[in-house]
């Protein structure tokens, strides 16, 4: 599987019902893009673990602002 941010966004949009397809962009701030809470954090972590086998920590989320920030972490840790 190749890493690609568009594909990453489609996967996130598929997981969160609140998100209307096409609205999420790489520079979207994920805390504003949808109702951000601890359950949504777990959903995102579960998605990234099952799709990319990458573990996202609480610290990763604290340090990240945009979708691209998270994508960069996943891309760095993803093993093809």
């Amino acid at each position: 599987m190749n890493m690609d941010i568009q594909n990453f966004i489609i996967k996130i949009e598929g997981e969160f019902e609140d998100l209307k397809p096409g609205l999420l962009k790489p520079d979207s701030k994920f805390r504003d893009a949808f109702d951000w809470n601890s359950i949504n954090a777990l959903i995102l972590i579960a998605l990234i673990k099952t799709e990319y086998n990458v573990t996202l920590t609480a610290n990763d989320l604290i340090k990240s602002k945009t979708i691209k920030d998270i994508y960069t972490i996943v891309e760095t840790r993803f093993q093809k």
């Binding site: 601890s38 359950i39 949504n40 777990l42 959903i43 972590i45 579960a46 099952t50 609480a58």
Partner: protein, 351 residues
């Protein structure tokens, strides 16, 4: 590695008791309606059985034990081992198992002790009891596992209050030379001990007036130092990292594959964790039962409670190969491969 098999011990019966009083997460008005919906859907808990103040885990285990002993037709003076696995004991001193020995009318020849584990407790308790029984001197044992978690959670902490329910269980074990072996893989990582913790009230942080001061930690999370503290992301990542390799190592050790398993019974952590683990193992949903929706996360009781409430007919009528997997507070985790054959399993009691 703590990978081992124990021959000669079988499960004769399992019973469970929960408090009658039920709370519904749809009524949990500390959080918004939208958040409640998301909680019920993703964390997977609709209702929880909550003990009245003063009702203990041992009360629930006592009721379940009386019911099971009557159904088994076991004589009380035949029972030589009682293990009580819990993190909610009756008193700081003495051990709850001693109180239960007397209350149940078990003989003085019965050895009794507590094990202080939570989520992983059933697997640890089963391995300890079976290990003590395998050479045949102790022929009948009771393993009681449960927790009252709702006295240490607080309404104003959304990370714990809507998750936990109360339950007590008992498993009757007997020496049986023809029993198929039980196999275990038990693990520990104490570096994560803060992921689930009650800070004060033990010897490390002796209780003071300050222990009762309520602090706000984040939105919707207010608690004092005597309340249970849960680091959701830490527990989540721990579970996703450790559980699948633990199960795979047990399967490899026993030379069993997942197709040979009738049911995989997980500790009922939360729906997101359990469904992610199920998908990682590629197990079909029908083979992975849940008691979470109705009873919440019942700590160490969750594996036997799920067996009693979701697999009762199958346990009574047939022969099953079960894979059990439990993980959490400690951090402590383990899996077990056990066979059951037409065991005694009365319906869950509400007291």
């Amino acid at each position: 590695m703590a990978l081992f098999s124990i021959p000669g011990v079988s499960i004769a019966g399992i019973a469970a008791a929960v408090p009658k009083h039920v709370e519904y997460n749809r009524d949990y008005s500390w959080i918004s309606e939208k958040e409640r919906e998301s909680l019920i859907k993703n964390i997977g808990v609709e209702s929880r059985h909550v003990a009245k103040k003063g009702v203990t885990t041992s009360d629930l285990c006592f009721a379940a034990s009386n019911q099971l002993l009557d159904n088994l037709n076991w004589k009380r003076d035949e029972i030589e081992l009682l293990i009580f696995v819990s993190q909610s004991r009756d008193y700081l001193v003495p051990t709850t198992a001693c109180i239960l020995q007397d209350r149940l009318g078990l003989p003085h020849s019965c050895l009794a002790f507590d094990i202080g584990l939570g989520c992983s407790g059933y697997i640890y308790g089963l391995s300890t009891a079976a290990g003590m029984m395998q050479q045949g001197s102790i022929r009948k044992a009771l393993l009681m596992v449960g927790d009252i978690s709702t006295t240490t959670t607080t309404y104003r902490d959304k990370s714990t209050y809507p998750l936990f329910g109360d339950a007590g269980t008992v498993t009757a074990l007997e020496y049986n030379r023809d029993a198929s072996p039980m196999s275990f893989n038990l693990q520990t990582d104490g570096s994560g001990y803060k992921a689930l913790i009650i800070q004060d009230g033990g010897i490390r942080n002796i209780i003071t007036k300050k222990s009762f001061d309520v602090r706000k930690y984040s939105k919707g999370i207010h608690r004092n130092r005597l309340n249970l503290e849960l680091d959701g992301i830490e527990v989540f990542n721990f579970s996703l990292r450790e559980v699948v390799p633990n199960i795979k190592a047990l399967l490899q050790y026993t030379n069993v594959n997942l197709e040979g398993i009738d049911y995989l019974v997980f500790h009922q952590a939360n729906r997101l964790i359990n469904e992610t683990l199920r998908k990682m193992l590629k197990m079909e949903p029908g083979k992975v039962p849940y008691s979470l929706r109705e009873y919440g996360n019942t700590s160490g009781a969750s594996v036997p409670l799920t067996m009693v409430t979701q697999l009762r007919d199958q346990l009574i009528q047939g022969k099953l190969n079960l894979l059990l997997s439990a993980f959490g507070v400690g951090l402590s985790w383990g899996s077990a491969l056990i066979g059951t054959e037409r065991i005694i399993c009365p319906p869950v009691m509400e007291i």
